[in-house]
Each structure stands twice: as C-alpha cells, then as structure tokens.
C-alpha cells in the first residue's frame, strides 16, 4: 500500500489544474508540452508492458533466489499494478474528448472485472459443464457423475458427515460464544484479556490447529512408546483402563465429533467477539428496566439479550454453516478419512479431482457444494437490494 499522503497537504494544495482534465487540452498547452505528454503517454504504457513481460517470466521461474523473488513481487505487486493503472489512465487522455470521460471508468473497474471473470465467473460455468463430462473432461457422460455422488458409499458418508458438521459446529460454537460473551460482559476487569484468549485460535491455521489437537488425541499402541496424549492421560487417570485411539473410534461417530471439536475451538472466538459487540450495543435502559421489574439474570438473557441480537446470531450462524460446509484442512491433515469414516464433501472433492485426477467427479462434488450456498447468495443479493432502496 502506498504511504498515505499528509492530509493537510492534500487539502491545502490540490494538484495543479491539469489541462487534460478540462475540455480543451490542445488549445491551452504549448507545443512543447504537447510533445512531452505525447511521448510520455506512449512510452509509459510500453515500459509498463515490458516490465510486466519481464517480471512475468522472472516470477514464473520459481528457482530464483527467494528473497529476490519476494522483492520483485512486492515491487510488481505494489508499483507495477499501480503503474499499469496510471499508464492506462494516461492512454485514455489521448482519446478524443467526447469519449474520454465515458471510457475512463472502465480503466478503473476493468482489471477487477477481468480478474473476477477469469477466476470466478468462468470457473463456475466451466465446473458445471465439466461435471457432465468424464474423468478427462472429454466425453459427455450425462448424469453419471451425480449418480456417483449420490450412490458411492464413501460419498454418501461424506454427505452425512458434512450434514453433521454444519449442524453441530455452528450450534456449539455460537452457543458457547454467546454464553461466554454474556458472562464476560459482566466482568469488571479483564474482559478484554479473557476475550482475546478465547479469540486467539482464530489466528492459527486449520493445519496448525489440527496438529495441536493431534497432540491431545495422541495414542500409541502397546510397544510403540509411552502415551503422551493429554486426553488419554485424563481418561486413564480418572476411569482407568487402556488408552484409546481416539481418532479411529467409529462407534456413535465419535471420531467425527473429535474433529469437529477442533473447528469449534478455532471458531468460537469469532462468534464470541461479534456477539459481544452486539450485546454491548443493547441500550442499558432496557436491561435496567427489566431488572427493576424484578427479572432474573437468566430472564434478562432469554427475553432481552437473545431477541435483541437475533439478527447478529443469524449472520454469525450462517457464516459458520458455510465454513463448516467447506471444511477440508482438518479432515485432510488428520488423515485416512476413508478408513476412519470421517470423509467430508470438500475433502472428497480434492480427493477425486486432485489425487485421483477425475475432473468430472470432482466437478460434480463442487457443484453440490455450490448448490448448497445458492440460497445464501440469493439472500445476500436481496438484502443488498433492500438497503439500496432505503438509501
């Protein structure tokens, strides 16, 4: 990001009036000026293109020195992208006057639209097309891939497991977050500290979180060293008996729950922080009034706090449902999903598309995920339209 210009300087010395911004540039500027600007207008874009061309080749070869790559990357990322915008803006100045201001907005918004089209709009269409094709996305296979998605035992398990994830994780995380936010709100001191400690796992990657919890669930069979997992120590310490291989306990979907705990651990802080700021926005008078009327703390929570922040609860829950639907890293890193019956949909997608190299099946699984978020998409757009109409 560029260094912000000094505010004062901006307000007191606005850029000197630029002739090209007014309607008749050629009439007011000297021939020298015109030639200078002409050469600049031509040279700058060419230089920008050459710079991009060179850096493209340089950055594509990943063998060059790491630090040098980082440096070039930052220069191209910050300077290059900015320079490209500047050069395009200059080019527009050379259009005939009537077109200039009509065309300029597309210089500003164009690159974003190109990237969105290439990286999101085109892929959505292409994935849908590929989902009706075979493994190499050559021949048309009709609904075969979808038939596979809804008949393969492992796929069916993954759908069932994901369904459990999207119910269980948001429920526990939002519930815990809500209760904790309410309780912490009453602390006279240390509220910020306890909140940031709960929030801390949010900064850790799912891979890091998976490793962290793998240590807690650690199990070694007899003869393979001592058991150093905390959960097994607690279990054998309190209930006695043998240590347990937690992550392969399939009865009652136990091991799935152990994986969900990891995501709950990561995301509760997020729910808590947002709900906490919503709770603080409830006017004091309402709560005081209820207390004067003799409401117990629990009644205040149930009849005032929860209803007042219900919209926030809905948003946070929706966010968590979408996140849980796409969970991949945790299941993937903790390995052997098929043997342990812990498959989830997003993990199956990578398994089929990337590891087995079956584009058709991978695409069909992705489309299933996509269809699941379409209601949220429609809701978002509707909500946005409503706000626009109020504005």
């Amino acid at each position: 990001m560029a260094t912000p210009t000094d505010d004062e300087a901006v307000e007191t010395t606005p850029e000197a009036p630029k002739p090209q911004a007014t309607s008749a540039p050629a009439a007011t500027s000297s021939p020298w000026d015109t030639t200078l600007r002409a050469s600049l207008g031509i040279v700058a874009p060419i230089a920008a293109i050459l710079l991009f061309w060179w850096s493209f080749g340089f950055l594509r070869s990943s063998t060059a020195n790491r630090l040098l790559i980082v440096a070039v990357a930052v220069v191209v990322g910050v300077g290059g992208v900015f320079l490209a915008f500047w050069a395009m803006d200059r080019l527009v100045d050379w259009l005939p006057a009537p077109f200039r201001e009509r065309f300029r907005p597309y210089v500003f918004v164009g690159p974003a639209l190109v990237i969105l089209t290439v990286f999101l709009v085109y892929p959505v269409i292409n994935t849908i097309v590929v989902s009706f094709r075979d493994a190499n996305s050559k021949g048309f296979v009709g609904l075969d891939n979808y038939r596979f998605v809804f008949s393969d035992p492992s796929m069916l398990r993954s759908i069932r497991n994901t369904a459990t994830w999207i119910v269980f994780v948001p429920l526990v995380a939002v519930g815990t977050g809500l209760v904790f936010a309410t309780l912490a709100d009453r602390l006279r001191r240390g509220e910020a500290v306890v909140k940031s400690l709960i929030f801390l796992p949010m900064a850790i990657s799912f891979v890091g979180a998976a490793v962290t919890w793998r240590l807690i669930y650690s199990y070694r069979p007899q003869g393979f060293g001592s058991n150093i997992g905390l959960l097994n120590a607690v279990k054998t310490g309190i209930f006695g008996g043998q240590p347990v291989a937690w992550l392969s306990q399939q009865s009652w979907n136990q091991n799935n729950v152990y994986l969900m705990v990891i995501m709950i651990w990561v995301q509760t802080g997020f729910a808590m922080v947002i709900l906490s700021s919503a709770i603080k926005a409830i006017p004091d008078e309402i709560i005081e009034a209820a207390r004067i009327d003799g409401a117990t703390e629990f009644q205040v929570f149930r009849r005032i706090t929860v209803p007042s922040i219900l919209p926030t609860i809905v948003v946070v829950t929706t966010y968590m449902v979408i996140n849980a639907m796409k969970v991949f890293d945790i299941v993937f890193v903790l390995g052997n999903a098929e043997a342990n019956h812990t498959e989830v949909v997003a993990e199956r997608m990578i398994r089929w598309f990337f590891i087995q190299g079956n584009d058709g099946r991978g695409a069909a699984i992705a489309v299933v995920l996509f269809i699941a978020v379409i209601p949220v998409m429609i809701w978002n757009v509707r909500q946005f339209r409503q706000q626009e109409s109020i504005r």
Partner: protein, 321 residues
C-alpha cells in the same frame, strides 16, 4: 460494530470500534460477576488455552522427555537441568526446511495481499464516484460472488494454468505454465479475495463526504488525482482491515497452495510443509510442535499487535464464501 445482515451496513468498517464502556453494574449493582460467573470464565479460558500451551511446551522439550512423558509433567519441575532446549527449532528450520517454507509463505502472502487491494481500491472508487453503464448490475454481481465456494474455481483454474483454454478446437488462451509458480498462486488468491475487497472498500469509499470530491473536481483534479491523493489516504482504516484479513487468510491457507503450488521442497509454503510433516513424521512430536509453532508465529504477532483491525477485518470477512 454490530452485524445486522450478511451484507453489512455501509458504515460497517467506517464505525469506530466501540470502546469497552463502563460496566453494566449501574445503580443496582445486580450484574456484577459472581463467583459462579468468574469460575466458569476461568474454566473456559483454561480449556481454550491448553491445546496451544501443549504445543508451545512440547516444542521446547528435549526429544527424550517428549518421547517418554506428557508435556504437562514439565510444569511440575520446570527448573530441572536439561528440561528445556531450542534444538527442535534448529532442526525444524534447517533439516526440516521450514526456513525455506517461511520465506516462501512470505513470497506468496505479501503480493497476494497487495495485488487484490490495489485492484479493488480502483474498482471501488469507480463504483462509488464514477458514472458508467452497468454500474449497478456489476456491483450486484460482486455481491453474488461473495459466497461462491472456492471449490468451484479449482478445476477450471488449474486446467487454465496447465492447458490454457479453448472453445471447441479454437485456442483462446495459450498454455500459461502457471502451475507450481508463485504468480499463479497470487493471481488465484487475488481472484478469490476480490469480491470481498471490492464490496468492503466500495461501502467505505462511498460513505466519504461528496463535498470533498466535488471541491477537488472544481479545482481541476482528475479522477486519478482524486483517487490517489484524497480517497486512498482517507480509506486507510478500511484498507488496513481488509489487508489484515487477507494476509491471515492467505498465510493460513492450505487448499489454494496445495492445488496451485504443490509440495515441491523449493516452493512449498508452511501449511503444506506442516501437513507433509504430519504424514511423514507423525510421531516426531518435538519436530511437529516446533514446526507448528513456526507456522503460527507471524499470525500470532499480527493478532496481538493489530487485534482491533483484525477483528474488523474478520467481522467484515463473515460475508466471504
């Protein structure tokens, strides 16, 4: 900062973070935390801290102790000679290749944060203060794209990187050879981060007072000058909020790096190196924990130093798909 809808209100990022106001104990003093509340809070905080603590302690214990006793035993006699070591970190950084992975992660993360912000800021200015055909429709499209699952983009983009694209037999995009390159990952992250960036920055930039823009225009400033000299400096809070969100998102990402960059030792990022380590040395806990901590270090520093912005970025990120 209250979220009221998945599409946050326009002043979302603009609102100053609420300072913790005086406790609610008020005149009645009913709501002060009692013993029950305090103990519950303490228990929950401990439960949440234990996993991270376990990793941190294990990573500083010598391998013989890690192999034979649980990490919590170190707490009972923390001052024994030979109870602690930094050898694990040396091993992880040198032989484990985590030094290289750390640099690679930086090389991926910084541009993958900066590029989308620059592009989105220009677009947000156009959506807010320029008049053009299709402005409204295009912005609705951006809102719609917010929740598209990443998985939808993986197959077409990786095919584009490896084979290019063609309609029938007509090749419209050549083989880009971007697979396994940093450039490919940056562009992918830029693409996936753009909808949220445009959405947030537009909401912020649109709420800037129009009188400033108009007076600058009267003084003859071009759009480019207004954008660069006025709008960007005024939008620093929103830019910072998104930058932190995107930085942590890219730093912690496994999926995009796994598909577009792969696990080659020269290019692998921290998340991939760590995931590979679990597969190859799953029981070498002294190595796993120190490696895990190396991968968490920078996010934790960012987290503790910029928590306020981080919260704003995350709150804003709740609309991302």
């Amino acid at each position: 900062m209250t979220v009221t809808a998945p599409v946050p209100p326009p002043d979302f990022v603009a609102t100053a973070p609420r300072k913790g106001r005086p406790s609610k104990s008020g005149i009645l003093g009913v709501s002060q935390a009692g013993w029950f509340t305090r103990i519950t809070i303490l228990v929950v905080v401990l439960l949440w801290l234990i996993p991270t603590l376990g990793v941190l302690i294990t990573s500083f214990r010598p391998v013989e102790l890690v192999e034979t006793t649980g990490w919590w035993t170190a707490l009972s006699h923390p001052f024994h000679a030979g109870a602690w070591t930094i050898q694990n970190y040396r091993d992880a950084l040198d032989t484990g290749g985590f030094q290289n992975a750390f640099l690679n992660t930086l090389a991926v993360t910084i541009p993958a944060t900066v590029i989308p912000i620059t592009i989105a800021a220009f677009a947000a200015y156009a959506f807010s203060w320029m008049d053009f055909r299709g402005r409204h429709v295009l912005f609705v499209l951006v809102v719609g794209l917010l929740v598209v699952p990443l998985q939808m983009a993986l197959i077409p983009i990786s095919r584009l990187y490896v084979d290019g694209a063609s309609i029938g037999s007509l090749r419209i995009i050549p083989d880009l050879k971007l697979n396994g390159t940093f450039l490919g990952v940056w562009l992918a992250h830029a693409g996936f981060g753009l909808p949220l960036a445009i959405y947030l920055l537009t909401n912020y930039i649109r709420s800037l007072p129009s009188s400033i823009m108009e007076s600058a225009k009267i003084d003859g400033a071009s759009h480019f000058t207004i954008f660069w000299r006025l709008v960007v400096p005024l939008s620093v809070p929103a830019l910072a909020a998104f930058a932190i969100f995107q930085f942590l998102w890219v730093w912690n990402d496994l999926l995009v790096a796994y598909v577009f960059l792969g696990g080659a030792p020269q290019t692998q990022v921290l998340t991939i190196a760590l995931a590979n380590l679990v597969g190859q040395h799953g029981e070498n806990w002294q190595l796993l924990t120190s490696a895990a901590f190396i991968s968490m270090l920078l996010p934790l520093i960012v987290f503790f130093s910029l928590q306020r912005y981080f919260v704003r970025g995350l709150t804003a990120g709740s609309v991302k798909g």
